[in-house]
């Protein structure tokens, strides 16, 4: 590379760095406010979207037919009442959660970002993390059911999963319709 080119490139790099430092110096407090504003707006947007999505999935749940299990097939597989309750329970939570998943992920991310930004600017994030944990994430018991379901015999899992499908459904109507509820 010719010496003139090197000098030119070096000057360009130096100018860019100077400009960056110029803009940083001129932002000051306004930059912090704008960043907080952006982070908060994102939370507002994802909150609105999650609320909307929850409603859509609830409507889907109400409109979807309740899965009916073939009792003879269940008996031939040796599935106990508890096996079927666990399977229907887990799959009901899974399907509902999957319906809302993207919206929940967005809101969890945006709340986390807002908390991070507040800490970055030495502001108290308050209970943002608790809001995220308790309102956006699934309850721990759902994960307990996921583990319990995973331990069921593969053929029982396959049998119930095939009957249920991937769409949200009303769990207690399903338990009732399949005579799994005690009175």
């Amino acid at each position: 590379m010719a010496v003139n080119d090197r000098v030119r490139i070096s000057l360009l790099v130096l100018l860019s760095l100077l400009c960056l430092s110029c803009s940083a110096e001129s932002e000051g407090d306004a930059s912090k406010s704008e960043v907080l504003k952006l982070a908060s707006e994102r939370v507002a947007v994802s909150t609105a979207k999650l609320g909307e999505r929850i409603e859509q999935c609830s409507r889907e749940l109400e409109n979807n037919p309740v899965p009916v299990l073939d009792k003879r097939r269940a008996a031939s597989l040796g599935a106990s009442q508890d096996d079927l309750i666990v399977a229907l329970g887990y799959l009901s939570f899974r399907n509902s959660f999957n319906c809302e998943r993207e919206a929940r992920l967005s809101m969890a991310f945006d709340l986390g970002t807002l908390a991070m930004v507040k800490r970055y600017y030495d502001e108290n994030p308050g209970d943002i993390d608790e809001v995220r944990h308790k309102l956006v994430y699934p309850p721990v018991d759902q994960l307990v059911y996921a583990v319990t379901y995973s331990k069921l015999a593969p053929e029982i899992k396959q049998f119930v999963a095939q009957a249920v499908g991937d769409s949200p459904f009303d769990l207690f109507e399903a338990l009732e319709k399949n005579d799994l509820l005690q009175e």
């Binding site: 406010s33 329970g89 308050g126 005690q182």
Partner: protein, 140 residues
């Protein structure tokens, strides 16, 4: 409804659930449940539900603070007054309308988990099922 209840927590739960509008369309009469002693699982559930109800205010507060922050940032100088755009209001309204939906749903999930627990053969408890079913479906 005759209930043996935990102190305070249950009354607060009922008040919160009523406020949330967690009730079915048809409100059947509550069947009396005599001698219900809420076990630890239910008491823990009540505590979690009460906490979730309180978090609704925090989320609403975070959104409100964000909108006010937005207004202050856009219009900087307090001399003439703040310009609040339609977009500010629309976003605020949509977000605030969603907050109770999210909370209600989170509470419903807790109730469903409890109902499922008490419906299982090893854990079956008729009174607890009646109680949580009444809470979930709403009755008078």
């Amino acid at each position: 409804m005759e209930l043996l209840t935990s102190s305070g927590g249950f009354s607060h739960l009922l008040a919160q659930l009523q406020k949330q509008g967690i009730r079915g369309f048809n409100m059947p009469k509550c069947e009396p449940i005599a001698g219900l002693k809420l076990d630890q699982k239910s008491l823990d559930g009540i505590e979690r539900i009460n906490k979730k109800s309180k978090l609704e205010k925090l989320l609403a507060g975070a959104i409100t603070a964000g909108v006010f922050n937005s207004i202050f940032t856009k219009s900087k100088a307090p001399v003439v007054g703040y310009n609040i755009t339609q977009t500010d209001w629309s976003l605020y309204a949509e977000a605030m309308a969603s907050v109770p939906k999210i909370t209600r749903h989170a509470i419903k999930q807790e109730i469903d988990m409890l109902l499922l627990h008490y419906s299982r053969p090893g854990n079956y408890d008729h009174k607890h099922v009646q109680f949580w079913r009444g809470i979930k479906n709403g009755c008078q």
